[in-house]
């Protein structure tokens, strides 16, 4: 669906996105993760033509982001990070404004969704809470048939119940046909539930990306213990392929793997140490291991 090649954006001297080469398969729900300022919003904006890339190329469904920007925006739906917009308009006015740009937009569908969420059509947008604003934007998008959704923190400002409603809506929407979603978020639990692919951005660079399942099966934490027979060869282990990082924890060494943990386990067994204990890592743990703050680099 989306293919970028060396996409870069500098704001003045500061690099916001550097050399992003990334692929979003059609039909996937892709989670784009990273700290504030990692380049997630900038990436989405470049894809939609709101920000001009400094260099590099990108295509969405075969359309070039520089040449065919209008066509891309016709087939994609977008929720911005700033949800409180068009404050002066009433909800109904906003819907008509938005819907007027799309041939496949349905007023009834939008109203039905807002009814279900109990959002009054007559209120001015600025009188609504941030969460309700987000819901209005979502209702507008779901009243049409975009092939791609680019969502910048879609559940930001939503209470847990609304978050659940929105995620459920997204999960159900993705079930029909060739629909793709890219969600930029901090909320790892949500990403872990509904995304099948994830990418971590750190300081504008892609730290890791791929199928969530593969990530979960290749990123494991393996604990090995020092015993009477000898100490763990820490330096040697750090050099091993497939070892991402090591964390000394008292008498135990925690090894975080990438790609094939089995090879690491075999080699550890070969060292004659006590049987290593393998832990599955959830997305938060993988993220913290692979995108540490600069001060707290682990290995």
């Amino acid at each position: 669906m989306i293919t970028t090649s060396d996409l870069t954006k500098h704001f003045g001297k500061a690099p916001a996105v550097s050399g992003l080469t990334w692929h979003v398969p059609e039909g996937s729900i892709y989670g784009l993760l990273g700290q504030n300022g990692a380049g997630k919003s900038t990436t989405l904006r470049m894809l939609l033509g709101m920000v001009q890339p400094t260099s590099g190329t990108a295509e969405i469904a075969g359309l070039d982001i520089r040449r065919d920007s209008v066509a891309i925006r016709r087939m994609a739906g977008y929720i911005p990070d700033q949800k409180s917009i068009h404050g002066q308009l009433r909800v109904a006015q906003f819907l008509r404004f938005y819907g007027g740009f799309f041939a496949d937009w349905s007023w009834d569908r939008a109203v039905r969704q807002l009814d279900a969420w109990q959002i009054p059509l007559k209120s001015r947008m600025k009188k609504l809470s941030k969460g309700m604003n987000a819901k209005v934007l979502l209702a507008a998008v779901f009243a049409r048939e975009p092939r791609l959704l680019l969502l910048d923190e879609p559940t930001e400002g939503l209470d847990p119940e609304s978050t659940e409603e929105v995620l459920s809506l997204l999960a159900g929407w993705a079930a029909d046909g060739d629909r793709s979603i890219v969600i930029s978020s901090h909320r790892l639990e949500e990403i872990e539930r509904i995304c099948d692919h994830v990418a971590f951005l750190q300081s504008g660079r892609l730290a890791i990306s791929g199928r969530l399942e593969e990530l979960q099966s290749s990123c494991k934490a393996i604990d090995v213990q020092n015993d009477a027979n000898g100490t763990i060869p820490l330096d040697a282990i750090r050099q091993w392929q497939d070892v991402h990082s090591t964390v000394p924890m008292g008498n135990t060494l925690r090894i975080v793997t990438q790609r094939t943990p089995e090879t690491v386990i075999e080699r550890l067994r070969g060292l004659g140490l006590r049987e290593p204990v393998i832990h599955d890592l959830n997305l938060r743990e993988i993220y913290l291991a692979f995108c540490p703050r600069l001060k707290e680099t682990l290995s």
């Binding site: 999960a171 159900g172 872990e192 539930r193 743990e285």
Partner: protein, 144 residues
Amino acid sequence: MTVKVACFIRPNSGEPIYQQLTRQLKHAISTGSLKPGDQLPTVRELAEQLVINPNTVARSYKELFAEGLVEGTQGSGTYVNKALPRIKTQEREARIEPFIDQLIAESSLLGISKQDLLKLIQERIRNHEETIHDNDIRSDETLR
């Protein structure tokens, strides 16, 4: 009419969601919560209900289909198979052995003796049978 499935997904436990779902669906089928002939929720319905990726649901269903536990085609719905799959004894044993090995390893690490382990297994089997029995009664009552 599709049957509502009571599944509990823990996204950040580290266990892949599709694995959790498959396991729980199998449990539901084996205990009779999902009876032969029952229609499973559509991929979309279950994804919305559990708030998980629809591909995950589809994959679970595919695995159940491959194991002969469910039948059906896209568009017509997914149904619990009326007959249990016919698997050769050898294959059945080959499939269950890894689980037994894991059980033995875990219990030895925990320091559970062989006798205690066997007692525990019998207890769980009793519990499983009681659940099936309860589900049978419940479905009889709803039919009445």
